[in-house]
Point group: C2
Chain length 355, copies 2
Amino acid sequence: MTNPLPTGATIGILGGGQLGRMLSVAAARLGLHTHVYEPASNPPAADVAHAVTTAPYDDVAALTAFARSVDLVTYEFENIPTEALDIIEAITPIHPNRRALGTSQDRLVEKAFLQDIGLTVAPFADITDAASLDAALTTIGTPAILKTRRFGYDGKGQARLKSPQDAATALADMAGAPAVLEGFVTFTSEISIIAARNPQGEVACYDPGENIHRDGILHTTTVPANIPASLRMDAVLLAGKILNMLDYVGVMGVELFVTPKGLIVNEIAPRVHNSGHWTQNGCAVDQFEQHIRAIAGWPLGDGSRHSDVVMENLIGDDMDKVPTLAREQNCAIHLYGKVETKAGRKMGHVNRIKT
Amino acid sequence: MTNPLPTGATIGILGGGQLGRMLSVAAARLGLHTHVYEPASNPPAADVAHAVTTAPYDDVAALTAFARSVDLVTYEFENIPTEALDIIEAITPIHPNRRALGTSQDRLVEKAFLQDIGLTVAPFADITDAASLDAALTTIGTPAILKTRRFGYDGKGQARLKSPQDAATALADMAGAPAVLEGFVTFTSEISIIAARNPQGEVACYDPGENIHRDGILHTTTVPANIPASLRMDAVLLAGKILNMLDYVGVMGVELFVTPKGLIVNEIAPRVHNSGHWTQNGCAVDQFEQHIRAIAGWPLGDGSRHSDVVMENLIGDDMDKVPTLAREQNCAIHLYGKVETKAGRKMGHVNRIKT
């Protein structure tokens, strides 16, 4: 058991996007410094970080110097090369741990883990070639979704199969990457729960939020979700189970399908999560500070919510709406400082506070 | 009339303390950069600023380069040398304007201005020597307070006179500085109102907060203040009058005494104000973002409050309470990242959200 990080200590963050940016602000609020490691120049997190290293993930010298300059390392995205993590972990701790990261990096490993600990997931099968896909389609049926095992996000690396005739096209979409076939789940809504665990074993959850996606990208999260109290409790319990089984330290986002038979786990993200941005304006301790508290060994915020919130992402040209949003009552604007607006790019979000 | 500052523009901030720090975070949230100018090394604002210049206020080259690197300049404290402002203003606009700054820098000018626009202030007199002090004590009476005209804050540069016998000691405390004698005001409570005005002339006020001081330093601000609605409206109207008369752009803190005869203006601060920190957890747009919006020519937040809040400053050894505060429900912690804890030093604050 490590002692809590004292104020003035430095947290290394792999990845300089909006999540790293908001983590940096939260760390500063607790008197902690951040050092952001990011291959791209002028990343969003650089504006609010104490230090920035601009170097690729295969730069051994830069990774070594980075790891030596910080008290511990965390990350804002899952797809960090294993070799980079090995170099860092030889020098300083990484939170959340490698097992959690490895589990979430691979859809097959993730689903097997979730099933092993007794949770419900969509029917799935390991797909390595046309033969295994044909076999899986026989047991799982269509509609189904073929997904690459690794490096997927925001709907990328996915192909829908309406019928077995789509098999060849879908497999071609994977471009030879190992894949998973997932059975189609009929759900009434999608929710997610943001949970945290610290090294002392304390677990805290925020109220589940209800998510609406557009074009495979999160559009809105509404809190509280329109679900019965029993399902809310189920979500808390299953999130706690995942965190405890992984000996997890940090914040995790758990995406869930609400079905007539109960909750089905869609996926887990070992980091702060877009569907938890509402906590910035709904809670005294938001998910970013909660993550920093957890990895720093501080007491966790208890997750209590003082206000209902609807979070809406600002994607691409949604930036044109900012002047109007700035005039809206009880609407908190959070922009990421990205230089270039691109279609499908997350540029910011707003939290509408319901009073 | 200038156009609103676009995202990606840079705001220069004179002063790198906690106010500059929280202004930087707010600017980042709107996609704006900050460049902090501060003589001391490792100032609190440096952790979250895009750029920092470490140089004294008489460094012409540094001031010039700073002014050229930004789109406009603001400040987090009043006592900026006039020469530094002259150098900057020849290159780029300063908000709030020089008149507002000059008025608030000098207690005599400030009181005369407030009286001129029809507001009530404590009885006051210009004190230049023992003779003028004796004369003023005759008209104003005791108890009274002698204050330096310039460079006073948090109770510094002040001497209380219980009787005319204290005159010589009090005058000696001024160390030859020009001073003002203020009559003692019998008040039931102290409140403050945080108001903002943008270049378009929009004015917005937050609800007045009720302030408790300890040892001359703000201890707590409670919102809403325990005052009748009529006084709340009086506070809003007088704040609006001050801002309009000064053609003010930015956030101003106005400290008021509540007396049986109505509100008496104690002092004005042409900047974000400690008694407005509660807005961070009570409003969608806090005072720091409001200031940035105002000086950037953006629409103002309307000042509406979604939660009641009690703000408490963490002074000196109050930092020892942080581990306990971190366990408190609905308690938002804001630390300033100051390296050294000193008696009387503002190290952070907490906002307790009332649900």
